[in-house]
Symmetry: C2
Subunit: 320 residues, 2 copies
DNA sequence: TGCAAAAATTGAAACGTTTCACGTGAAAAA
DNA sequence: TTTTTCACGTGAAACGTTTCAATTTTTGCA
């Protein structure tokens, strides 16, 4: 019933604790014969090393923990699967955990590194954990002057670029539809939007909120048109869903879609087939994931960190 | 840089190691004042107990590990979310991990219990782990004479029931379409199918394989009709997807769907709206999940184990 | 055969907790 | 005053490893 310990193995094999340990860890100083003997005994006794004890000594768990805000969800599926593969190759195990448990899990200090995908996790918790001396990669917000490595999906540059393009083409009035102000992704995108306008000495003609959802976009535009007769020339939506929701409404009230330029973000399937097809920005998620793991692995080996460069594509279709 | 240990706290608070430990764990024997002092120092030094050390001593991690075969996937989403909630209430943390890592993770012995959803995990690994003295719940196969608790989604009874119903109604030729022979769920369902036939002294007129997918069902029926002029009277598919794939093909070649009775399993959304609507069996997944957690929690407290009873509904629609 | 060098083995400390079993000292009871 | 009780603290062992430093054994060579 009781699980065999190294001591049991050592006794049974008539060697010292040290020898047993070295033998099982294939240390060269142990004679081939003894090593074999010890291993045999270990097998017979079904010996399995105790993780805590080992960790307590050598402080390397080869475990990476990932915080997510919810299980399932199509984004995670591919991302997690990819990260898992990559970590396996590099001899790390991956454990996934709800961000709500972060505090408790982190306090164990049983992990060699963490990647955070949960935007709702408290900043203070991560900050505290950053003192524990293992790499933390946070994909949900920006950290300055911290050991925490920020790797949000940066949308600033591509948004800047497309708005700039619109300005160059002569448009003058621009609106931005937020998803949620809690979202760092959103803030990034807004940053790009704002920068382009600032440089052209323009002010946003409207700021709306659509909660990242279809109906949110629908309602936002509906509300706007209640107060105004006309839409701004160009409307940037923080994601495609909202843009499509908005167009749904515009079509319903027979607003001429030619009169407004609409830009989304994400490049979801539907945007391509929608009528009119939606102009949008696509971020290369695979590239992002790759970078996350690479940078984590580098930090684990404390190599110099390479800069993350966000790859993206502007996909221009009918709406702009 | 170095993280404060209990020793540091004790020294700084001018008390012994023991006192520090007791104070932080709210032991009654320590005077209120000292307790407060120690806690203050601990806070100041940002002390966080070391998980491994604690675990090494007290052998209770309050961690449950869940093995899955892949992250994401709509089934998991709700199941995991539910299990997480329930475990939290009972003061356990939940970690999710790819079944491929089971061996390594289990050998740590750092977990108080496990739930397995990964059918591909090796039987020997679970068996070995069952010696480690923590409850294991396996939802993917049947264990006899083992400490491992089997809790597969048992489909045997409802399948038996519906096939029996068909026999009573006078049908004589039956086919079964497997998803995959590796699936214990599938085997369970087949068990019910076979039992009904056996009792009526009938033999299956066909056994096919459809890989649990739409196209698999499509291809299976297509292949069958290449060799035979007619389908059996009743075809049972191990899941709805395959049944619908098969009907897609039959519609395409203008086979009269009235000539064949089709039964699926799972009650997916589409089955209801498909034309003709699909007769199927629905297992109460929530009930299943509840039971899994309940039984795990009971085992953790080593209470007597209640028997799991699988709740299901036969949903008769147009195809049978 | 002797002796240094190399190879193999080992004792014991260390990791950071928890907790048993035993002090203290002071107040209460005798 | 002496004994008992009690509240509060503490020393040290234990958990199961790894690993340093020291010791023993074997080997190679003159």
């Amino acid at each position: 019933m009781k699980v065999a310990t190294l001591k049991d193995v050592a006794k049974e094999a008539h060697v010292s604790l040290a020898t047993a340990s070295y033998a099982l860890n294939d240390d060269e100083r142990i004679k081939e014969a003894t090593r074999k003997k010890v291993k045999e005994v270990a097998k017979r006794l079904k010996y399995v090393p105790n993780g805590s004890a080992r960790l307590l000594r050598q402080k390397q768990s080869h475990r990476i923990i990932i915080f997510v805000s919810s299980f399932g969800g199509p984004i995670y599926q591919e991302i997690l699967e990819y990260i898992y593969q990559k970590l396996q190759i590099n001899n790390y195990e991956m454990l996934v955990c709800n961000g709500k448990s972060a505090q408790s899990i982190l306090s164990e200090k049983n992990y060699d590194g963490i990647i955070n995908f949960d935007a709702t996790i408290k900043t203070s918790i991560l900050k505290e954990a950053s003192e524990y001396n293992f790499p933390i990669i946070d994909t949900t917000r920006n950290w300055e002057n911290s050991k925490i490595i920020s790797l949000p999906l940066r949308g600033k540059k591509p948004v800047y670029e497309i708005i700039n393009m619109a300005i160059k083409e002569g448009y003058k009035s621009f609106a931005y539809v937020h998803g949620s102000l809690d979202s760092y992704d959103d803030l990034h995108r807004y940053g790009g939007f704002k920068k382009a306008l600032d440089e052209a000495n323009l002010l946003p003609s409207a700021i709306m909120y659509g909660n990242f959802t279809n109906t949110g976009g629908y309602d936002a535009i509906k509300a706007y048109l209640k107060d105004h007769k006309e839409l701004p020339e160009v409307i940037f939506f923080a994601n495609d869903e909202m843009a499509i929701g908005a167009m749904d409404y515009l079509k319903k009230v027979n607003y001429d879609l030619k009169m407004v330029k609409i830009i989304g973000f994400d490049n979801i399937q539907l945007g391509k087939f929608y009528n009119p097809s939606l102009t949008t920005i696509e971020i290369d998620r695979n590239n992002w994931t790759t970078q996350i793991v690479n940078i984590l692995l580098q930090s684990l080996n404390s190599l110099a960190k390479e800069e993350y460069i966000c790859k993206y594509k502007i996909i221009r279709r009918e709406t702009f």
